[in-house]
Symmetry: C2
């Protein structure tokens, strides 16, 4: 639709679940972090911004308890679990939305489960007319990792990271900013002792080479779940969308990233 073409390429910002919730306490939001991030987003005044947040301690415990990712086995109990997991996510989402509104950001929630049906856990097509129009209007669409209906499995979990990559590609994003609770990607697990240094800049190819090396030294799965995240994001980076990973738990990192200022983090581009 020509009338909806955007003059500025959108920025897709991810707020990690480990940043906006207390990971170790089920259903506990980190309201201080949410408020600070809302303020940074308001200050940055980024045009054409799309925000996606993760589930952290809201989505994960229930999704695990009811084995949502594995699909619908039939039966009322699991169907209720599907709903409960969604409800946990909308509860967290409402807190994020509230903070954004408090900072006068015209964010608008677009619920993934209300328009996406995946196929074996993958988004195959993601057209969303409301989201397109919100962007055009100057609103800030707000999405989140969610449970979704699935054409093969009945239902499943859709990660915020897959949503980030899919949204970025769909809307021709100029860049992706991923806010996590680490300073960026490291040459080893930053949460474990050892001499790990931050990767300031790399190509997708270099990153893959590094991970193969890490796999062979068996530290692979301890890289803080970052590999699964990168597999999702690679789909967008490969289409030419540069991605910056920064520490959203630290003050001003998201602000600086959004402003395009120099910031500690990992910058990944196609080549």
């Amino acid at each position: 639709m020509k009338a909806l073409e955007l003059s500025v390429k959108p920025t897709v910002l991810k707020l990690g679940g480990s940043v906006i919730t207390h990971k170790d306490k089920a259903f506990t939001a980190n309201l201080k972090a949410i408020g600070r991030l809302a303020e940074e987003i308001a200050d940055a005044k980024t045009p054409q911004l799309i925000v996606v947040h993760g589930g952290g301690s809201f989505g994960h415990p229930l999704a695990k308890e009811y084995a949502i990712k594995e699909g619908f086995r039939g039966g009322a109990a699991q169907l209720l679990g599907f709903t409960k997991t969604h409800q946990a996510m909308i509860t967290l989402n409402n807190m994020v939305l509230e903070a954004l509104i408090q900072h006068n950001i015209p964010a608008m929630t677009v619920a993934p489960s209300s328009f996406i049906v995946s196929k074996s856990g993958r988004i195959t097509a993601m057209t969303n007319e409301p989201l397109k129009r919100l962007l055009k209007m100057g609103s800030v669409p707000l999405l989140y990792g969610d449970v979704v209906l699935d054409s093969d499995k009945g239902f499943t979990v859709l990660s915020g990271d897959q949503l980030v990559a899919s949204t970025a590609v769909q809307f021709g994003a100029g860049r992706i900013i991923i806010g996590i609770d680490e300073d960026g990607l490291f040459t080893g697990d930053p949460k474990k002792p050892g001499r790990h240094s931050i990767i300031r800049k790399c190509t997708l190819r270099e990153l893959r080479r590094l991970w193969r090396k890490l796999e062979s030294t068996s530290v692979f799965d301890v890289t803080g779940g970052m590999r699964g995240k990168m597999v999702e994001l690679a789909a967008a980076i490969e289409t030419g969308i540069p991605t910056l990973i920064v520490n959203a738990s630290k003050s001003q990192r998201i602000y600086r990233a959004l402003r395009g200022e120099k910031v500690i983090g990992t910058f990944i581009e196609k080549d």
Copy 2:
């Protein structure tokens, strides 16, 4: 899609905003009524049920304050008002969802603004793959009157009643049940003194004839806003979907209506 054909025709149930909220107190839910209705819905065990609720004192004050129905005039303030109105609705919706979950009803919210774009306030097409799949799976899709993007006006308000009619037609509903805070339709305004009797059963034609009569005696606009409601519902009734209007503020009326038992109310059919 053949695989998604339903063996039982769905029932679309509307829970009026004046029933589930305290109309005179902004942003105040009637949690007692919501809990009772959830219990009645659980007891009725209606297969293929779709529930739509209104906005009452949550949606209306903000929608009015920001003139959402009139469309987007441009500017950050009104855009924020659009979001605030939506947020009020998701707050109310979350309370309804919570009550349904408490009564073990596998309801699942489908957010209208996340998939509907209207044209001058009218839904022109309403395909929703998640909703279809939820029904097939035995879940109870839960929708609500909402703000929506609009291809002519930027945005507008979508009434729960238009949503009821549109959903009923789209999913080939077998019946519509409308829960309001009156016993049904009357020959005059039931909230005003006078000799008004309840209309137990009528055709759409008879109803229109009655309203023309009421208009000529100038009591038209005092019929409790029921005329606007009926204009919306007529679209579904005309396609052959019978509609029953009952008092959802009174105990067991919704239960009896859902069970197909004899109940005080107004039954309207095409002819």
